[in-house]
Amino acid sequence: MKQIPCLLFSLNKELFGIDVENVLRVINLEKLMKVPKAPDFIAGAISLEGNVIPVVDLAKKIALGETVIDKRTKVIILEVHHHEDVIDVGVLIDEVIDVITIQESKLLPPVLERMGFDTQTLDGMYKVEEDFYMILNATKVFEKELAVLI
């Protein structure tokens, strides 16, 4: 039975999870540089260990609204695999909740309609006690952007 360690977090009052395989680290949002002319979902860029990494407004990206940036806003640095390359991308979230191990077999298919956001980006849903967590798939979130790259 396949087990997936997942990072659970909240964003715009919704609950999400993402495979820790894709998570490089979580940091507090500091010194966000604006990038004019960038696509709408890009909130800006930050510097991390000498690299400049774009920060994506995840809520906007999956059509869940817009993230209001405040002092508590955090950034998950994701490693998105694309062919041989790994692309680092930061995504804005509200709060980290926990890291748990989920059973792949217990993943529920996502409700496809009337969820109020783009459910194509999910691997499935996972129930922890009374709460449903949407398990995001990093590659699916950036599918369109990756397709343009060679």
Binding site: K31, M33, P36, K37, G50, I53, V89, F142
Partner: protein, 678 residues
């Protein structure tokens, strides 16, 4: 099989192929270099061994066949020749493809067939000369005595060319007698006062050797075939040179060196010789077999080199850059620092971090000689294809440049060299008519100066034909018929898009791309190209390149709350202007350098709605395209580390990259040309 080992094998095999290629080219220069032949054999042997272990069947087979050829060459059973060299060089390419996982099995098969055919031909040949022994024994030795008259050059003969021709016949030993004036000076002054003795080992017959001196008077040369040691005391030889026993022994040693086996095999044409030789060799081989792997791995360690992936290197540089920034942050946090000991410690930390940064950047620099093999192969194939003879001289190949720069330089350098051989250097016959050596000279030199690297490519060919360029320029509509143009202007036209002077499109140059592409490629790595030429004497192409692409001198400007960087070499002129004066005119043009030009306001471009009263205009000039950009103000100059844009941002083409400033904040680098397009 473990994937890591697999990857390691691929890396190792690639290195082996590079070494092999280098050795082959070395061998071409000096076909008698026994060490080189040995090395080639070993490289092939190692390649074969590990290919088998990792399941590269085609690689294993092909290297096995090649190995057998070179083991014959090494043992003197076969003579290394151009055919084998060409075949092996081609095989190196095919092997590289195979290792890269490309489907080149068919090509490998073809080479293997060629090798098999080569062997069959050999067996057939040796059957014909049952007693002749190995191929090496087809060599004959000659003693040649040259006593050219002083006026040889005045008679229109090129003495140097004759000596070169002689050398092409086989291995030779050249001795100058009565060298009252240094030989080089005699050649330079075109006045020969010495006389010469040459020992030659060649497959060519007596007549062929004599043909070299066709234009000399019979009294000026004597060619004697050395059949045995007796020649040096025989009358025809003694007429010119009288030697004592000791000197004769020296001569014999020389002949032996030129033609191994000469001393051991007097008169009677050795019947049992080959067998004893080969058994001896086989024993030696068995011992060597085990050693060969070991030797190569030892060799690669001896130089003290490790190969590191660029990814790891970039990581190191990033962390070091971060450390430098963090140090200044720490300094700020301490608020200047009252404790002198802490201040001193901070200064020490600063020195160390800067040194660390410099060393880290230095690692990225690699010497230019990694290009050498590619260039030599290009010159070899191009000059062969065009029937020209080229001598390639390099100097300063140890000059270091950023690795990414060297990669970017490859194509333009190849193009310039191709052009030089195709258009510059004349045919050997034509060169002789012009009293130039048959071999054209192509010189590559490179040196550091300040924070730039210069690379010069010089040929001693015909120079640039300005009449041809003028005619072509007019034909292409780039020039007007009745106007006089300076040479500089004509050179600029030559580098204009779509210009190529080749009368016919050759397979070598003139494949639709011209010097304009070279110019563009060089500009892309922030370099310049300059051409100087002298009709009939040759041309020099000079490339001026920044030491590294990662360090960038920039002008820091502000627009609203953000800072942006403009590469300083693109900035032509800056001035302040009131917002009203810029925007009030409906035409939205500024006047600069006597011309009206449109401007791009960054605030407007970035959709910011308010403007400062006083703005700053920056005229950017990149590759002769000018753009006027309006920013708030200039903050200062900054040397910074260039970072490419993250993949998610590559669509934002008004920026070419980013950079981290000293205070840890970031700035985007403007790509001014894209502003103009929008």
């Amino acid at each position: 099989m473990n994937a890591d080992f697999h990857q390691e094998y691929i890396e190792e095999a690639k290195q082996l192929l590079k070494d092999l290629e280098q050795a082959l080219l070395q061998l071409e220069k000096d076909p008698e270099d026994a060490d080189m032949i040995n090395n080639i054999y070993r490289y092939l042997h190692t390649l074969k061994g590990s290919a088998g272990m990792f399941g590269f069947k085609d690689v294993e087979r092909l290297s096995h066949e090649l190995e057998s050829v070179y083991s014959d060459v090494r043992d003197g059973i076969r003579q290394q020749d151009d055919f084998i060299l060409d075949l092996t060089l081609h095989a190196v390419d095919v092997l590289a493809d195979l290792i890269d996982g490309k489907d080149s099995g068919k090509q490998a098969e073809k080479i293997i067939k060629d090798i098999e055919k080569l062997k069959e031909d050999d067996t057939a040949a040796s059957a014909n000369h049952a007693t002749a022994g190995g191929a090496a024994n087809n060599n004959k030795a000659y003693a040649i005595i040259l006593r050219p008259e002083k006026n040889i050059y005045k008679r229109g003969l090129n003495f140097q060319a004759m000596l070169d021709e002689l050398q092409e016949l086989g291995a030779s030993e050249f001795m100058v007698h009565d060298e009252t004036v240094p030989f080089e000076k005699q050649l330079a002054d075109k006045e020969v006062v010495s006389w010469f003795e040459i020992l030659l080992a060649s497959k060519a017959g007596l007549e062929a050797v004599k043909d070299v001196f066709l234009f000399m008077k019979p009294s000026e040369y004597t060619v004697l075939e050395i059949t045995d040691a007796g020649l040096f005391s025989s009358e025809p030889y003694r007429k010119h040179i009288q030697l004592d026993a000791h000197q004769i022994e020296d001569r014999l040693k020389m002949v032996e060196a030129l033609m191994p086996g000469f001393l051991n095999a007097p008169e009677a044409q050795h019947t049992e010789e080959p067998e004893t030789v080969s058994t001896a060799v086989q024993q030696g081989e068995a011992a060597e077999e085990d050693e060969s792997l070991d030797k190569i791995s030892r060799r690669s360690r001896k130089g003290g080199h490790v190969s590191v992936s660029t990814g790891k290197l970039d990581q190191l540089i990033n962390v070091v850059s971060e450390l430098v920034i963090f140090r200044s942050e720490l300094y700020h946090l301490m608020g200047g620092g009252q404790n002198p000991e802490v201040v001193e410690a901070m200064e020490k930390l600063e020195r160390l971090t800067l040194r660390l940064r410099d060393s880290a950047f230095n690692i990225r620099l690699v010497p230019l000689n990694i290009l050498n093999v590619k260039l030599e192969r290009l010159i070899r194939s191009v000059s062969k294809a065009l029937g020209k003879e080229v001598e390639f001289i390099t100097e300063g190949l140890d000059t270091e440049l950023d690795r990414s720069m060297i990669n970017a330089l490859e194509a333009p350098l190849m193009h310039i060299i191709r052009n030089a051989i195709d258009h510059g250097i004349e045919n050997p016959e034509e060169r002789e008519r012009r009293n130039k050596p048959r071999k054209g000279l192509l010189k590559f030199y490179s040196y550091n100066s300040g924070d730039h690297v210069f690379i010069q490519l010089q040929d001693d060919g015909n120079g640039i034909d300005f009449d041809k360029i003028r005619a072509k320029g007019i034909e292409k509509g780039l020039l007007t018929r009745n106007q006089a143009y300076s040479e500089k202007e004509l050179i600029n036209v030559m580098m204009a898009p779509g210009f190529s002077t080749a009368d016919q499109v050759t397979t070598v140059s003139g494949r639709g791309v011209g010097m304009d592409v070279v110019k563009k490629d060089i500009a892309a790595i922030r370099g310049d190209i300059e051409v100087s030429t002298e009709k009939g004497l040759g041309s020099i192409f000079t490339l001026r390149l920044p030491l590294t692409l990662t360090i960038l001198d920039t002008l820091v400007v502000s627009v609203a709350d953000n800072k942006y960087l403009i590469p300083i070499n693109e900035v032509e002129y800056c001035y302040k202007e009131s917002h009203a004066r810029l925007f009030n005119k409906k035409s939205r043009q500024i006047s600069y350098d006597g011309l009206l030009m449109p401007f791009v306001s960054l605030r407007e471009y970035f959709a910011i709605e308010d403007f400062p009263e006083q703005e700053t205009v920056i005229i950017i000039n990149k590759n002769d395209t000018k753009v006027a950009v309006v920013v708030d103000e200039i903050i200062g100059k900054l040397q910074t580390v260039y970072k490419p844009l993250n993949e998610l941002l590559t669509g934002v083409d008004c920026f070419s990259g980013t950079s981290i400033l000293g205070d840890g904040s970031m700035a985007l680098i403007l790509n001014a040309l894209k502003l103009k397009d929008s």
